[in-house]
């Protein structure tokens, strides 16, 4: 394909629905959205809203791994995920799971990062190159001879990310990648992911309840409830327009936005809801000095 003609949309869900075998209700209903190359998308919503199910559809775990009835389709880079074998999908969509400890298989970091490329049957020189690259950009090179259980949670999650990146996917899906991490490490991991997107043009989809952690980086937020998309837009627009709906769903909106909403209710401030502390400080600073 001529690179100048590469379509902007990397990922597309068309009227996607899914019902797990034996479940009473559908986990996903009529989900439609498209994601552009290099976008940082935040996926939020209450527990059981279908976020994880959606992620599983994106990398082909549904319907290959979880039995059930699927409707609609998911296109990655123009091809239908459902009809691709999972090993093929794993080259396009990388999936980083919640618990870092359950995604490391080898006895050293280096061999674990090599695991994916080995499965792809790549030549040794190419594996070497990818492993060194992936460990380099996730800052795990110094850990290469350590065993998984010798690593801290943050280090494990970085290694898990390196293992996915070594497969050179165009999209990385992360399902609550920070839930096993302390706030500082979580912040570091999100920063690393954002750098990756900016420098390597990788599309990032992150499931996260705590918007505080990601609102700084995300271009866009998709909010789900009961298997449907209930909000989709830039983080700024959704915070401005659907703030009450978000808090109603129990989405952990940034604390600074909450503060803003309270001040606004009392008529102390007005205008756009800030999504990061710096923006709020700037606006409030102006207010306080007058």
């Amino acid at each position: 394909m001529d690179p100048s003609k590469t379509p902007k949309t990397i990922l597309e869900a068309r009227n996607l629905g899914f019902q797990y075998e034996g479940a009473e209700a559908r986990a996903l209903r009529g989900v439609n959205f498209g994601v552009e190359r290099g976008e940082f998308v935040l996926l939020a919503g209450p527990s059981g809203c279908g976020k994880t199910t959606l992620c599983r559809c994106l990398n082909g775990l549904i319907p290959h791994f979880y039995p059930g009835v699927q409707e609609g389709e998911i296109l990655v880079d123009g091809s239908n995920v459902t009809s691709m074998p999972t090993s093929e999908v794993s080259r396009k969509v990388g999936y980083v799971f919640q618990n870092p400890e359950n995604q490391l298989f080898a006895l050293t970091v280096e061999k674990d990062v090599a695991f994916g490329p080995e499965n792809l049957g790549l030549p040794r020189s190419e594996i070497r190159e990818r492993v060194d690259w992936a460990m380099g950009i996730t800052g795990t090179t110094e850990l290469k001879n350590l065993a998984p259980y010798e690593l801290s949670g943050g280090q494990q999650q970085r290694v898990a990310l390196a293992g996915i990146l070594a497969m050179k996917p165009s999209v990385v899906v992360m399902d609550e990648p920070t839930s096993f991490l302390d706030p500082v490490t979580a912040e570091e991991v999100m920063k690393a992911v954002d750098d990756l997107r900016l420098e390597h043009g990788i599309t990032v989809i992150v499931v996260e309840h705590r918007l505080d952690l990601v609102s700084r980086y995300a271009d866009r937020i998709i909010v789900m409830d009961s298997g449907k998309v209930v909000a989709d837009g830039t983080v700024q627009d959704v915070l401005d327009g659907q703030f009450d709906q978000l808090t109603g769903l129990g989405v952990g909106v940034p604390r600074v936005s909450q503060l803003w909403a309270m001040l606004k209710r009392d008529g102390l401030v007005s205008g756009q809801t800030p999504k990061v502390v710096e923006a709020a400080a700037e606006k409030l600073g102006g207010k306080l000095s007058t």
Partner: protein, 266 residues
């Protein structure tokens, strides 16, 4: 408390520690031939001196690998069993020398396995298993793809420390709810462990499901011609060990067949 300490210590005698000595660097396949030789020879002969000789052969290896101290732990762990073997044979009237010979045979087997596992990285062992045609064939027959068995082996080793942490968590949780593990007679004590085993089993099953998902995401099982970052290669020392082991093996078999007199031990 002291009891669990002793158990852990004795396991040290079989646990791999990553070091780079000439013994650690030997190819697992060459080492496997070595332990097979020791195994076969020690079963062919009941002569005390042959068996003592086999035991002494291990000393330079233990020294070169720097694992002498940890080997002592494994011997200490086997001491009780060795004692039982000795006295059982003595009491059934085999005489002191044969009883001693059988005890030494046990120690030889213990030593050779201990040496193998202390100095062979499970990763290398997995790679070696992946190279054995029989393992690949069985693996394909039973599990559908050729590297399933070697993968199962390395993953099992990888998960031991993780499951140990899980077990400790479950034990702590049940103790904090008043479970008393060290109470009652031996049967009672075994039964005390049921509330530990059931949650532990559930945790392990759940973990295995998550591992399976993550495997899918990494393109496992991959292709028939799956490659690997590292490759096992025979070095001069490996050829030497293979040559030595196979010579000893061949000579022992020959002696066993044509000089049965040496079989008569003492």
């Amino acid at each position: 408390m002291s009891r669990s300490f002793v158990t852990l210590r004795s396991l040290e005698g079989f646990k791999f520690y990553g070091r780079k000595t000439i013994v650690h660097n030997l190819d697992p396949r060459a080492k496997a031939l070595f332990i097979t030789t020791v195994f076969v020879v020690s079963l062919l002969f009941t002569n005390l001196y042959v068996l003592l000789g086999l035991l002494i052969v291990h000393v330079p290896f233990l020294l070169a690998a720097g694992v002498l101290r940890r080997w002592v732990y494994s011997i200490r762990a086997g001491a009780l069993l060795a004692g039982i073997i000795f006295f059982a044979n003595l009491l059934t009237g085999s005489g002191v020398l044969p009883a001693l010979a059988l005890t030494v045979r046990f120690l030889v087997l213990l030593t050779t396995f201990s040496l193998f596992f202390m100095t062979t990285s499970p990763d290398d062992l997995g790679l070696a298993l992946d190279r054995v045609g029989l393992v690949r064939w069985l693996s394909r027959r039973w599990l559908g793809f050729p590297n399933a068995l070697s993968f199962t082996f390395t993953t099992a080793v990888r998960l031991v420390p993780t499951l140990a942490v899980d077990a400790q968590t479950v034990i702590d949780a049940q103790r904090s709810r008043g479970l008393e593990l060290d109470k009652g007679n031996i049967l009672r004590r075994i039964r005390n462990y049921v509330p530990i085993l059931i949650p532990l089993l559930l945790v392990a099953i759940r973990r295995s499901l998550e591992l399976a998902e993550a495997l899918e995401a990494r393109g496992f099982p991959g292709r028939e011609d799956r490659t690997s970052l590292y490759e096992l290669r025979f070095k001069a020392s490996d050829y030497l060990l293979v040559l030595g082991s196979s010579t000893v093996l061949a000579v022992s078999m020959w002696i066993f067949v044509i000089h049965p007199v040496l079989r008569l031990p003492f």
